[in-house]
Symmetry: C2
Subunit: 211 residues, 2 copies
């Protein structure tokens, strides 16, 4: 079975081997990859409008967003966030990519979420405000001490404020997305689930009984 | 007496009338204003390196940063933040400009601070991550409810996270800077002190007995 999570820049594939050997994960660039090259069935989600339009005309590309009960979420919520929520019964999901989306799921029901800038975006933000704020974030920062130097002052502004809010839910923290490992330093009790979105997709495929 | 707080884009003047009539506040652009046009004594602080170099050679421009005991602060801390701290005995200062600096002062001693992006910078950050996140922030947001729509999801990410941290100090909150009034909606119990930096400058002038 082939799954695909399509973002703004990449197709992220997961090839699941039916004989239970290791799954195979690979990426293709949105700019160079042609979806018509794949002839087998692909179960996908897509946040990229341009790609979405291309895929609608391909019979072997199955849009899993159509299998979701959107009433449980909201209209403009990214399908990647929804799939991550579908994979979780209780917990707060921190998906650290170009944006950091934080979503709370209680007893399998989405209770709300918020959006915070990703590492690279926030780094650029500080740099653009002033060259004097052009530092890499310090993930080893002691979050209990209000800083007295510039590098820690921006790191605290970015990381401690996220930490406060995420910790305030007093729930299991699930880290996913490209920067999940970095944020494990800030949330040492979190668990990293790199394939959270794919797990949600598998669950939906099973629930909708379409495979 | 003439005071001047020089930022990256403007000279902010405060003309204090000795006969106790109203003070007079005005701005000049860094690009067009020539400091040699002023012949009277000007007590100034300056975060703009280019302007700083020009002013060093002008005898009537008195640099107040030289009157500060830097041991109470840290080397790369902006002189505007330091002056705001000098004006406060106990409280957390939220200076909402191109960056938002948050500084804690206890019994007249600076205990640390952090730096967060200003409104315009953060708006651009979200917009640059995705056009789908290009919203104005909602300052009337209910901070007790995790959002279920995109506009509130970014507003919460920006505003609630700042609110949590600033409130956690359980101290008086003093708002200053160009966006102080906007943030009064988020911190309704704060007091706005638009001339906080000038107040710090006046205090230093008095303490150093140079006027």
């Amino acid at each position: 079975m082939l799954l695909c999570d399509i973002g703004n820049t990449t197709y992220n594939f997961l090839e699941i081997n039916s004989n239970n050997s290791l799954d195979f994960n690979y990426k293709k660039s949105v700019n160079t990859f042609s979806p018509t090259d794949i002839k087998q069935k692909v179960y996908y989600i897509c946040v990229n409008e341009k790609v979405k339009n291309r895929l609608e005309n391909l019979d072997n590309w199955i849009d899993l967003s159509l299998k979701i009960n959107i009433d449980n979420y909201y209209d403009t919520m990214g399908i990647d966030r929804i799939m991550a929520c579908e994979a979780v019964k209780n917990g707060v999901i921190v998906d650290a990519g170009s944006a950091i989306t934080v979503d709370v799921v209680r007893d399998g029901v989405f209770s709300g979420g918020f959006i915070y800038p990703g590492v690279s975006a926030m780094n650029n933000t500080y740099k653009n405000i002033s060259p004097a704020l052009s530092y890499e974030f310090n993930y080893s920062l002691n979050l209990d001490i209000i800083p007295k130097n510039s590098k820690d002052a921006i790191s605290y502004g970015y990381l401690k404020l996220l930490y406060n809010e995420v910790s305030s839910y007093a729930m299991d923290i699930i880290l996913t997305g490209g920067d999940a490992d970095r944020f494990l330093k800030i949330f040492p009790h979190a668990r990293v689930e790199k394939e959270l979105i794919f797990n949600g997709m598998k669950k939906i495929i099973k629930k909708a009984d379409i495979c």
